[in-house]
Amino acid sequence: MHKEERVSERICEYREALNQALLEEMERDPAVFIMGEDVGRYGGVLKVSKGIYEKFGAMRAIDTPISENGFTSIGVGAALAGLRPVVELMYIDFACLAMDPIVNQAAKARYMFGGKAKVPIVFRTQGGGGRGNAAQHSQSLEAWFAHVPGLIVIQPSTPKDAKGLLKAAIRNDNPVVFIEHKLLYNTTGPLPEEEYVIPIGKADIKRSGSDLTIIASSYMVLQSLAAAEKLAVEGIQAEVLDLRTLKPLDMETIAASVTKTRRLLVVNEGARTCGYAAEVVTRVYEELFDELDAPIRRLTAEDVPIPYNGALEDRALPNENSIFQAALSFFR
């Protein structure tokens, strides 16, 4: 009868996992509230905040005008004054309008005020391409934020990670840029029934392998896992390392994997030049050069704005097939 000791789980959408994280944290801590465009009455453009307005009311599910600079600044001010806002920027592209409060204010306040300020705020946003949203709604700007001291950057790939990391982000006393992916909201995965939090700064091995390591985050993890299945057919066992947190970077897990497989492919959906992959490659060369049997490869988006046409967009972004080919090239 008691043979099945494993944690009870149920299958859940990424969207719903995020929704649960918000509901649970708002239930737990009255200082947590959400604000952004259509997050209240409408329940969020991607329905991540569904039911929150009904449960917690207009003061804790604040619908804002389309004023990204203004409402993001207001969120940062509320955090400085002791609340724990979760500010939704509907697309990461729109964060361009709010760079002052994120980069100049939230990221700097603690340091430049000599450690007395805390800015416990989460900027929830959504990036990536693949859905024909074209150049102003498809960017992967994680590297911009990871470049800024004072910010934490998270990119979850599964429902379980999304929930556990969003809860951790809300409880963290620093500004967190929490980047979801537009192609992940409908994906499903097992979600523990009991409460859990996933620590920030810990990567996760999503598939074990001995022949090469593929490092990815967000939707590129799913593409890498699909590529790994194809590689297995070719007799190549790829290990897929999901960064989950981009800043701070978990070099410990990376080192363990690279030391084991001795080959590394880094995949990132952002543009190539000065992208996040460049940082991972450099860190591995600096710290683990002697562990490598082959030069590192990186696979990124092309250095172009994301095009609308489906065939062009497919070519612009890394995918299962290009990851498969890049991985295969280590062995052929």
Binding site: F33, M59, I62, T64, P65, S67, N69, G70, F71, T72, S73, I74, G75, V76, G77, A78, A79, L80, A81, G82, L83, P85, D100, P101, N104, Q105, A109, R110, Y111, M112, F113, G114, G115, K116, A117, K118, V119, P120, P149, G150, I152, N172, D173, N174
Partner: protein, 321 residues
């Protein structure tokens, strides 16, 4: 409850503190004891002092790059401020912020700001927090007539009014935006109209008349505490010392600044004249107050000079909480 006499004494004392603080800052800067840039509040003292004396200790303010005056008026310790100007470990920011980033969170001061207009939204956020917690606090955002052209002013004005936030927008109209007269940049120079589209009141006040500022701010604070929403105050004043220390001021009309330092216009001299005329304080009293302020600033300067620099390991501290 302080008497009117106590209030007036405090006001004139704070105004002198600010005046002497800025003189000392200028001296340190000219002697290369300060780095970067510093922006002096000389001649605008009545705005900070008039407004901040209507506030409680736990009410919020956000300040500007020209922030020393707001900081002193909100209750900051000039010693720790001066130490910050010299980059010392005993400074408000442990030497990591400097002139443009002094914050004093224990007194509700959410910081000076190096970004013009950068504090406007932050103050509205603090006002939102006050409304959220229903704790009766208000927030004041000080900004200049340069910052009032930033988009964030308009965005924040709309939301503050929409949500009836307990917020005062205090525009210090000192007539300059960096190295230009601001009247080059207004499609309509009547700045009080900037509240009209957002449906909240605006008051224009002589920003060199500390009592006029005080009374106007009192009305606005009362309105905010009652839950009636924000108020815009346009305080007309003049930036005596240029944008930064070392500003050549060659864009400024000759003889103009001197007119603002006369007994008719200088906010400190005007207030002193009024206090003696009303027999509230004697010339001797005023001289004593002035000397006390001067001495405190001298002590602050000594404290700053004698304080140690931060240890190098502080470089990596407090990037994250």
């Amino acid at each position: 409850m302080q008497s009117e006499q106590q209030l007036y004494q405090k006001m004139i004392y704070q105004m002198w503190l600010i005046r002497f603080f800025e003189e000392q800052a200028r001296d340190f800067f000219m002697k290369n004891k300060m780095r970067g840039a510093s922006h002096l509040y000389t001649g605008e003292e009545a705005v900070a002092v008039g407004v901040c004396n209507t506030l409680n200790k736990d009410d919020y303010i956000t300040s500007t790059h020209r922030g020393h005056g707001h900081c002193i008026a909100k209750g900051a310790d000039p010693k720790r401020m001066m130490a910050e100007l010299l980059g010392k470990a005993s400074g408000y920011c442990q030497g990591k912020g400097g002139s443009m980033h002094i914050a004093d969170l224990d007194f509700g001061n959410l910081g000076a700001n190096g970004i013009v207009g950068g504090g406007i939204g932050l103050a509205a956020g603090a006002a939102l927090a006050a409304k959220y917690r229903q704790d009766g606090r208000v927030a004041v955002t000080f900004f200049g007539d340069g910052a009032i052209n930033q988009g964030v002013f308009f965005e924040t004005a709309n939301m503050a009014s929409l949500w009836k936030l307990p917020l005062l927008f205090v525009c210090e109209r000192n007539q300059f935006a960096e190295f230009s007269y601001t009247d080059h940049y207004f499609a309509d120079p009547d700045l009080s109209k900037r509240a009209i589209p957002f449906n909240f009141p605006a008051f224009e006040v002589d920003g060199n008349d500390v009592l006029a500022v005080y009374e106007t701010a009192q009305q606005a604070v009362q309105r905010a505490r009652q839950g009636s929403g924000p108020t815009l105050i346009i305080a007309n004043t003049y930036r005596i010392m240029g944008h930064t220390i070392g500003d050549p001021l060659d864009y400024r009309r000759k003889g103009e600044a001197e007119q603002w330092l006369t007994h008719e216009k200088d906010p400190i001299l005007r207030f002193e004249k009024w206090l003696t005329q009303q027999n509230i304080l004697s010339a001797v009293d005023l001289e004593t107050i002035k000397r006390e302020a001067q001495e405190l600033i001298q002590q602050a300067a000594q404290f700053a000079l004698q304080s140690p620099d931060p240890i190098l390991s502080a470089l990596w501290e407090n990037v994250y909480a």
